[in-house]
């Protein structure tokens, strides 16, 4: 078990994982101007953690990002999204009416920007949490992935 022939994979992955996460946040916050958004960014963050799990083992990934955290994250994401809807309701508008968030007349876009950014964060949390929960549910059933399993 002490054979260390995955050293290149580990070194490359260690350098790649932060870049993948930064790219995910770029996709998240640049979604107003180019292709991308919360869904894609959530999947990319989930894939970064899954890459960590594939290289360093699922238990190590579960210690870094616990399954209890991922499934709460999924629920919190949906709550953030729905919360923007209720925020608009409390401001006197309709459900998810971003224009009502700051009582703006048509043509002003502050509420649209803030509302869309917050719901995209909700989508990010919901999607990445749900994807990681699914991955843990599948990968957690095999205690350890040995080399001869591939």
């Amino acid at each position: 078990m002490n054979t260390d022939h995955h050293v290149i994979l580990r070194v490359v992955a260690k350098m790649l994982i932060p870049v993948i996460v930064i790219f995910a946040f770029y996709v998240q916050f640049h979604g107003d101007f180019g292709p991308g958004g919360g869904f894609q960014a959530g999947v990319i963050i989930a894939v970064a953690i899954i890459l960590y799990a594939l290289i360093f083992g699922v238990p190590a990934a579960m210690r870094a990002v616990p399954p209890a955290f991922t499934r709460s994250l999924a629920a919190v994401g949906v709550m953030i999204y729905a919360g923007v809807g209720f925020w608009a309701l409390l401001q006197g508008g309709q459900f998810l009416e971003y224009q009502a968030l700051f009582h703006e007349p048509p043509g002003e876009h502050h509420g649209q920007h803030i509302g869309i950014m917050v719901i995209e964060i909700g989508v990010l949390c919901g999607v990445s949490g749900a994807m990681l929960t699914i991955f843990y549910a599948f990968a957690g059933r095999v205690a350890e992935i040995r080399d001869e399993d591939w």
Binding site: M1, R10, Q40, I50, Y81, V123, M131, V142
Partner: protein, 213 residues
């Protein structure tokens, strides 16, 4: 035929090339028995179709396809593959006849349906002329967001996207409820580590900064 001699020729060539790769990969998937190779080829299929979506100017769809199809679903299929055997059982010829007929009939119906489809980028098609054209006209004034896809998804169709997020959440919840939350292996691992006293040698492969000898 006239389009072949102006600027569209390169686009047509790229389309034919990418669709040809898709066709070859699909045939290879259908003929393979090794599940690992099939999973890898299906990831490749998603990646090539993402490239093809870029070629027909659907960059958002391409992005999602590359992230979900090539990244996420490949990993989930690999995880599912680990729980079962490594090779597909070959079917008898007689049992393959039914699926073949279904595939041929569906393919013929789809090809017959493409005759009625509008051309790519046709301004008078139903998708571009109706509500899509209105969004393009009023989107900037309503929301002030340059990428028209984002306000359509998040602002005009906010309810739909809320529903989609809920669907993803429910999918994760359903898988977790069916397969368990995956903490068993972690608990097992930690218990084993506590039992064996030489903890350092067991964690050595995971750290890799130690001596490679």
């Amino acid at each position: 035929m006239h389009a072949m001699f102006n600027g569209d020729f390169g686009v047509i060539l790229v389309n034919i090339f990418l669709l040809g790769i898709l066709f070859a990969v699909a045939i290879a998937i259908a003929r393979m028995r090794s599940l690992f190779a099939i999973v890898m080829l299906s990831g490749m299929y998603s990646l090539v179709s993402a490239a093809w979506y870029v070629a027909i100017d659907a960059v958002d769809v391409a992005f999602t396809e590359a992230a979900v199809g090539a990244g996420m679903s490949t990993v989930v299929l690999l995880g599912a593959m680990l729980l079962t055997s490594r090779t597909a059982k070959p079917e008898k010829f007689f049992f393959r006849l039914g699926p073949l007929l279904v595939c041929l009939a569906t393919g013929a119906a789809l090809i017959y349906a493409t005759v009625d489809l509008p051309a790519l980028g046709d301004a008078t098609s139903a998708a571009n002329a109706g509500v899509g054209y209105t969004y393009l006209q009023v989107g900037w004034f309503d929301t002030g967001i340059p990428n028209i896809v984002t306000p359509v998804l998040a602002s005009y169709r906010g309810f739909d996207t809320l529903g989609e997020t809920t669907v993803v959440f429910v999918a994760g919840l359903a898988v977790a409820l069916l397969l368990g939350f995956g903490e068993r292996s972690l608990a097992e691992r930690i218990r084993n580590e506590g039992r064996t006293s030489n903890r350092g040698s067991k964690k050595a492969p995971a750290v890799s900064d130690e001596d490679p000898a």
